[in-house]
């Protein structure tokens, strides 16, 4: 869903916000809302686990909550780090609750999305959100029922409680009751969970559906992606609004110190240089900067060429092992390969492109013009707007698949993952990636690399097939030849068996095909009448 945590400080009325943005946030109708709620909760659950080095166990339960009305109770349980009880009310009950300004790759914006779901549930069913949580080090488990006071933008805690831990449990269980449409959302939700499971082979994911169906993806690998680290923004990626907020909230006494403290790749020398170029006195207070000065500073920061490139430690690629394990778990292919490109940047934002390919086995046949393409942005599956995604453009326009010995339709699945502190999404739906030249280039290189390896495999396979065919096409004639020679030289003490054996030896010696293989074919050769 979302990629960056550009958290804002200005609070607007949550109701106002919700009505304004409910389409964008994905709550346009009951089906969409159900799907979106599951996504928000699952993504938060994963962020609470794998981002903190915990192998996820995720349980999703969707139940009918009312015999008459289309109300559904969605419960998602994780074994993550848990939430401190004093944070819980604000985390679920205050829209745009935030703390400090840092960048880090996350799945959802912890907070915003789920609060939309809370609001939606409250407005459609009137039922509060229920949260059960505990951190590893706690002795107690905490329980909350929360509503949002829409006018005041404040959490209302309806119920609160705690009990002693009987076993060593940590994590969070969130339950929401909303109006939904399972019939219409079913396929979408299942596909979402399936696609998510492909990139989380290190997770146990189980889902109970209102149809009493249980979908289970069992963990097949103990390796997790390296968790992303929080980093300060790089000056290349700054804009006026962002700079303004940083400066306003800065605790440093001077603008010079504020720059050094709040940005990566900016030391004192660089900071002085920037301020000189912008014509700003380094010793003034950051909060005293005028709009004009800020604008000058932004322009200088964006055009300055001496920085170190942005740090990629804030981004967390899946890694080749995870991609391969995921594709293996889902498709049991005969060939699988993955590649993680080295970090690159666009407009000051670091990003990494990864690609995986699975071929054969249980991989379904692709469309007649391109491989089945699984798109991901920051580990989130992109299910819609495939046609307008730059990944699709690369797959169709930049890659000459026939050069890689792939002719469609083929049993081939291509996975492409773009991760960044700011994924260049196209439009507000955040379901497709925009055509940014640097990103497009990396996508092309990543796909080319895995496709090259696939070609290597297919070539070897073809060769082996040819070799096997050669064996058959030679061996099938051996008995007839031996028989013929025997006819001509009968009485010359010639033994047919020995002749066959000799010919097999010669074929083996001249072609490198093992004798056993030739004999295997021979077993089935019969001369008819």
């Amino acid at each position: 869903m979302s990629s960056e945590t550009a958290e804002k400080y200005k609070a607007i009325s949550p109701a106002e916000f919700f009505y304004k943005y409910k389409e964008i946030a994905g709550f346009a109708n009951p089906a969409r809302a159900l799907y979106q709620t599951v996504r928000e909760l699952v993504e938060n659950a994963l962020d609470a686990t794998d981002s903190h080095g915990i192998l996820p166990d995720i349980k999703i339960v969707i139940q009918r909550a009312d015999p008459v009305q289309e109300f559904y109770r969605v419960t998602v349980e994780d074994n993550g780090i848990g939430i401190p009880p004093d944070i819980v009310p604000n985390a679920f009950g205050r829209v745009l609750f935030s703390s400090k300004y840092v960048l880090k790759q996350t799945r959802g914006m912890y907070g915003l999305g789920v609060k939309m779901a809370v609001l939606y549930g409250q407005m459609t069913t009137g039922r509060p959100i229920e949260v059960i949580t505990s951190k590893r080090e706690y002795r107690r488990i905490y329980f909350f029922k929360i509503r949002i006071d829409i006018n005041k933008n404040e959490p209302i805690v309806l119920e609160r409680g705690s009990w002693r831990k009987q076993r060593d449990w940590h994590g969070t269980i969130v339950s929401l009751t909303i109006e939904g449409d399972w019939g219409k959302a079913k396929a979408r939700i299942k596909e979402y969970v399936n696609r998510t499971a492909i990139v989380t082979p290190y997770a146990n994911i189980v889902m109970y559906t209102p149809d009493n169906e249980v979908v289970f993806y069992k963990r097949v690998i103990d390796v997790m992606p390296r968790p992303p680290r929080e980093v300060k923004p790089h000056p290349y990626g700054v804009d006026l609004e962002m700079l303004k907020m940083i400066m306003e909230s800065s605790k440093q006494p001077t603008i010079l110190e504020a720059l050094v403290e709040n940005f990566q790749s900016v030391g004192e020398v660089t900071a002085r240089d920037l301020l000189t170029r912008a014509g700003i006195d380094p010793s003034i207070s950051p909060s005293s900067l005028k709009e004009d000065d800020l604008l000058k500073l932004v322009n200088v920061m964006k055009t300055y060429s001496q920085y170190k490139p942005p740090s990629s430690s804030a981004i967390s690629p899946l890694g080749t092992e995870v991609i391969k394990a995921g594709l293996n778990r889902m498709f049991e292919p005969e060939f699988v390969e993955a590649v993680t490109r080295r970090p690159s940047t666009y407009e000051g934002h670091p990003f990494i492109v990864e690609a995986g390919i699975a071929y054969g086995g249980k991989v379904p046949l692709s469309e007649p013009d391109k491989p089945t393409t699984l798109r991901y942005a920051n580990k989130i599956p992109l299910l819609y707007d495939e046609g307008s995604d730059v990944i699709t453009s690369v797959v169709k326009e930049d890659i000459a698949w026939e050069n890689y010995l792939v002719s469609f339709p083929a049993p081939i699945v291509l996975l492409v993952h773009v991760c960044s502190t700011k994924v260049p999404f196209k439009g507000v739906g955040k379901e497709s990636i925009a055509d940014v030249p640097e990103v497009r280039r990396e996508i092309k290189l990543a796909i080319s690399e895995v496709a090259r390896r696939l070609r290597g495999y297919l070539t070897a396979k073809q060769k082996e097939f040819e070799a096997q065919r050669k064996v058959v096409h030679l061996a099938k004639y051996i008995p007839e030849i031996a028989r013929s020679i025997e006819v001509i030289f009968s009485g010359d003490g010639l033994d047919r068996e020995i002749l066959v054996k000799k010919i097999v030896e010669i074929i083996s010696a001249k072609t490198g095909i093992p004798e056993s293989k030739i004999n295997e074919v021979l077993k089935n050769v019969e001369i008819g009448a």
């Binding site: 030679l474 099938k476 004639y477 020679i485 050769v525 001369i527």
Partner: protein, 431 residues
Amino acid sequence: MSSVDVKARKNAMRVLKERFKTIIEQIQRGEKPTLIMPKRVLSNTIYDEKSKMLLLGPDVLKRSFIDVNEARKFMQTLLMASIIYEALVNNEYPTIRDLFYRGKHSISYRDVDGKLIHENTWDEQKESDSVIRDLEVFMNVLREEMLILSKEKGKVVGNLVIKSGDDVIDLSKMGHGAYSIEPTPDLLEFRDVDAEYVLVVEKDAVFQQLHRYGFWRKYKAILVTSAGQPDRATRRFVRRLNEELKLPVYVLTDSDPYGFYIYSVFKIGSITLSYESERLATPNARFIGVSMTDVFGDGVFQKILNNVRELGGFTKSALGRLKKKKPYLSESERKNYVIKAKQRDIERAVELVGYDVAEKCIESSEVRSKLKKKEGLTGYPWFRTPEWIRELCIFFNTLNKLEIEAMASKGLKFLADTYIPEKIEGNDWID
């Protein structure tokens, strides 16, 4: 069974074993089994100026069993050898069709994907016939020498006594019939001959007319017909008459490109079966007629010569030195007897002598344009002689042809007592 037959069998078996022994030796030495034989393709067919025959060139084909593309042919060659060998041992006389059926069976095997497949050793006779030809060149033995029979087609009568099998046959005592030239003419023995030349007639009907007329008795000729395209036996028989009995051979065909080609098959060999030429061709055979000049004289040709500098690579003066020719037919006879040439005839003529001659001799631009597709043809070397250029040039110019029967229609007496003897005595033939 006659003794010559037995001898032929023994010899064929010996050669076959000898040649295939190399395969066993290769196998025993651990080498890949390979059949080495002259390449039987058009590009390896050479017209030998010295012997005046179409012969196989020096290119050899190495058919290795290890080569996937050749393995099937290799198997087929051995299979055919074994069937022929068995027939030789069992005193049989298979035809090529028999051999096709005897060798045709299935080989079943499992393909790479495990599917059970039944493959025929060969599917049609074309395939097995081709293998027989391969064996002939590989062993350097003709099929007749391996007692493989084909339909009898050629016939002969004349003052000639032969021994066929254990029977002695007088070919002058055949009544109205004639002796069918056996498919294995090499097993014949010439006992006694009283003849001065051999006359080979393309058309069976004309052969019969001449026979009943008593032509061969009157002119001491051995009369042979190939009844159309000559088969191998007839060609071999004629060759033996020429080579062993030292009799000159004259060939009488229709006056058209097909007739000319039949003559060249007797003389030079056939393009598709050039490997047999050495044994089957009669390089001394002469074309007695019917020639275009016999029909039209040489006036037409002289007129064309006046308008060109050279023709078919010969200068005007070289072509001008050709012997003068008067037609045997009068203007009105010609009108009655000649037939209009078909497009097929014209194209065949271009194949024989080349497009350049056709272009210069054909008057009608419409006919010329229809031949454009044959532009690349340069003709066969043995037809690029002044005599044949004249013949075919007249054909191109008149676009007429004439069947021998027409000569007989003028009067059998004319054909037998005037035309043929006159042409032979006057050395009026093309060599």
